[in-house]
């Protein structure tokens, strides 16, 4: 899918920045957990990629089904679904212990 055609610059930026706050929490948690193996770091980075990709697809589908969109509303519904699948994502302790 050509996302560049499907979404506006503002919407793409919203998705690009959607994990900014989460990334900060991860960095901070990493500072408190020294010696994290590369494999764990790799897995967490993949999880972030996966979050953004799924949000991107979700956004495109939502946009097609509604004339007026609200990014917050879409994000809220997506996060709820995502949290069910990956409860460790928003829980830093769990993220590093799993």
């Amino acid at each position: 899918m050509d996302y560049e055609k499907e979404l506006t610059t503002g919407e793409l930026r919203f998705i690009e920045e959607s994990t900014d706050g989460w990334r900060m929490m991860v960095q901070e948690a990493m500072g408190k957990n020294s010696g994290i193996p590369d494999a764990v770091m790799e897995r967490i980075s993949e999880l972030e990629d996966s979050y953004q990709e799924e949000l991107l697809n979700f956004f495109v589908l939502e946009k097609k089904s509604s004339s007026s969109i609200n990014a917050d509303d879409i994000r809220s519904r997506f996060d709820e679904q995502w949290n069910e699948k990956h409860p460790e994502f928003f829980d830093m302790e769990k993220l590093f212990s799993d």
Binding site: Y3, E4, T8, T9, G10, E11, L12, R13, F14, E16, E17, S18, T19, D20, G21, R23, M24, M25, V26, Q27, E28, M30, G31, K32, M41, E42, I44, S45, L47, E48, D49, S68, I69, N70, A71, D72, D73, R75, S76, R77, F78, D79, E80, N83, F90, D91
Partner: protein, 554 residues
């Protein structure tokens, strides 16, 4: 209380005896500020009796302060001071600022200077310097230009507020100083209130020519390529002035004039008028009858419903915050641009006195984030980033807490720019910034629930997010609440970067602030860009010198 009173009387008896033995000193410049602390320390020292020389020294100081209380200003408020002494800690803290607020800013300068007990922080020094500057300029010039006075007072108030914010509630020491600076803030605020607000300041580089009649509004917008010139046409300035002083009747008239199919421009005009009325009402500058408040609430809620249907620009985030700030015209406001040397200079006199950083990743397969950075510098309307502390541009800055690690604000900001082509922009707040702490605006937003319940719920509902740990009840909607209360930036207090194991007691080494009005910023056009991707997406190390290069925003 009886025991405290007895101790106090005994203290006085001893002091009087000591004073009789000590030559009188005229023009004592010491203050009474440390009096209560000194009194407690004095009693404790007396109890121990083992550190006699220190006790003697403290007692001498105590006498000087006591005499100052007698001879300078406290004579008339002695009873009040005594009454304060007998209060419990909580009450004392609450009432102490009122006590100091009885003084003038000139007297407060003397009090601040004489209260030095070491350990002055940068934020404290800012207050002292700004206070000194204001008093010096006021004294020197009999007819101080109101605009200059306004700027000096705004800066002073901001410094004082920053100091107050910087005091963590767990600090029991320095409460007298905090009380004193709270009084400075109040006094500066009172002086500011006496000055008529400046008209047409900091409005965009977009020149708007607006003509209004009783029922119709037409707007013509002309863009200016020179972002340094903030020219506003005289007609627009007059309109802006009218909106600033709009009454409830004006709001009702504007609302009633809106038909079902009214143009976006007409809705925006009504929003601006309602915003002005609500703003002054919430700040206590405008009184409204209960039925007027109720009507204002329902009208603004309906206007928000209409604003929600407006189209955001393609390079903006489609959400209520963006649409609301578009309607107010805030997203068209532009920052001040300068170079790195100019930024250093601007930061030294800016409200936070800090250089701040904002880093942006390029989108998808695009090679550079430069167009997005250019948008921030004023090329198109403001992009308000999503975030759980409000919507706007998030910036990192080094806090005033003692350094624990070698982390710095620029490095932390690079966390958000791990891709090749990411751009980091440096900036500082300027004098247009009206900053409120996150903690405070959450409190105010909560209060608004009782005052304007419909509007409160509408904002909260539309900006609602999935709740997970570390998010407040208000999160993304905070920017709208802050604007309604007259602020254009939020100093984030519930999050920041600190890898110390004790974040609750040490605060955040690198803090965040968010603004939803670019005119609050002075931005350097000399930015930096990352030349290669970071190894891991989620663990972004700052680029080394070799991994980054300079890039011009314009």
């Amino acid at each position: 209380m009886g025991t405290e009173q007895q101790q106090y009387d005994e203290e006085n008896r001893k002091l009087r005896a000591y004073e009789a033995m000590t030559p009188k000193q005229e023009n004592v410049s010491e203050s009474d500020l440390g009096y209560r602390d000194m009194n407690t320390r004095f009693i404790n020292l007396e109890k121990s009796r083992t550190r006699k020389s220190e006790w003697e020294e403290q007692r001498k100081l105590h006498v000087v302060r006591k005499r100052q209380i007698e001879t300078l200003w406290v004579q008339k408020t002695r009873d009040k001071a005594k009454a304060l002494e007998s209060l419990g800690d909580k009450e004392y803290n609450r009432k102490q600022p009122e006590y100091y607020a009885a003084y003038s800013l000139e007297q407060m300068e003397i009090l601040l200077k004489s209260s030095y007990r070491g350990g002055n922080s940068e934020v404290y020094n800012n207050v002292a310097t700004d206070l000194e500057l204001y008093n010096a300029v006021s004294k020197k010039s009999e007819s101080l230009d109101p605009e200059e006075k306004r700027l000096l007072l705004t800066r002073l108030k901001q410094s004082a507020d920053d100091y107050i914010k910087s005091r963590h509630p767990i600090f029991s020491t320095g409460r007298i100083r905090k009380a004193m600076i709270t009084a400075v803030s109040k006094l500066a605020g009172a002086e500011l209130a006496k000055i008529e607000p400046a008209s047409g300041t900091a409005e965009d580089t977009t020149t708007a020519v607006v003509t209004t009649t009783a029922t119709t509004t037409t707007t013509t917008t002309t863009s200016s390529s020179d972002i340094h010139t903030g020219t506003v046409s005289s007609q627009a300035a007059v309109l802006e002035k009218n909106i600033e002083s709009a009454t409830f009747a004006d709001a009702k008239k504007a609302f009633d004039a809106l038909s079902a199919g009214a143009s976006e421009a007409a809705v925006c005009e009504a929003v601006k008028i309602h915003f002005s009325v609500i703003n002054r009402f919430l700040k206590g500058e405008l009184q409204l009858e209960p039925e007027e408040t109720q009507l204002l609430d329902s009208q603004m809620t309906e206007l928000m419903d209409r604003v929600e249907t407006h189209k955001a620009d393609a390079d903006q985030l489609p959400c209520l915050s963006t649409r609301f700030f578009n309607a107010l015209g805030w997203t068209s406001r532009k920052p001040v641009l300068t170079d790195n040397a100019g930024l250093m200079q601007a930061a030294s006199v800016s409200p936070l006195k800090k250089i701040m950083y904002h880093t942006i990743n390029p989108l998808l397969r695009r090679k550079s984030a430069l167009p997005l950075a250019q948008q921030l510098s004023g090329k198109s309307r403001h992009y308000l980033s999503d975030g759980v502390h409000g919507k706007g541009t998030y910036m990192t800055y080094r806090s005033d807490i003692p350094k624990i690690t070698d982390v710095n604000a620029s490095d932390v900001s690079w966390i958000y720019g791990g891709k090749k082509g990411a751009v980091q922009v440096s900036m500082c707040f300027n004098q247009n910034a009206r900053i409120i702490s996150e903690e405070e605006i959450i409190k105010k937003a909560h209060e608004m629930k009782q005052i304007l319940p419909g509007l409160h719920d509408k904002i909260l509902e539309t900006e609602k997010r999935f709740k997970y740990q570390r998010t407040s009840a208000y999160d993304a909607s905070l920017s709208i609440f802050a604007a309604l209360y007259g602020f254009n930036a939020i100093d984030i207090t519930t999050s920041g970067y600190n890898i110390s194991p004790y974040p609750d007691t040490s605060g955040y080494e690198v803090k965040y602030a968010v603004t939803f009005d670019r005119s609050t910023l002075t931005i350097s056009t000399e930015a930096e860009t990352r030349n290669s991707d970071s190894k891991y997406k989620s663990f972004v190390a700052p680029p080394s010198k070799k991994e980054k290069s300079r890039i011009k925003l314009i």
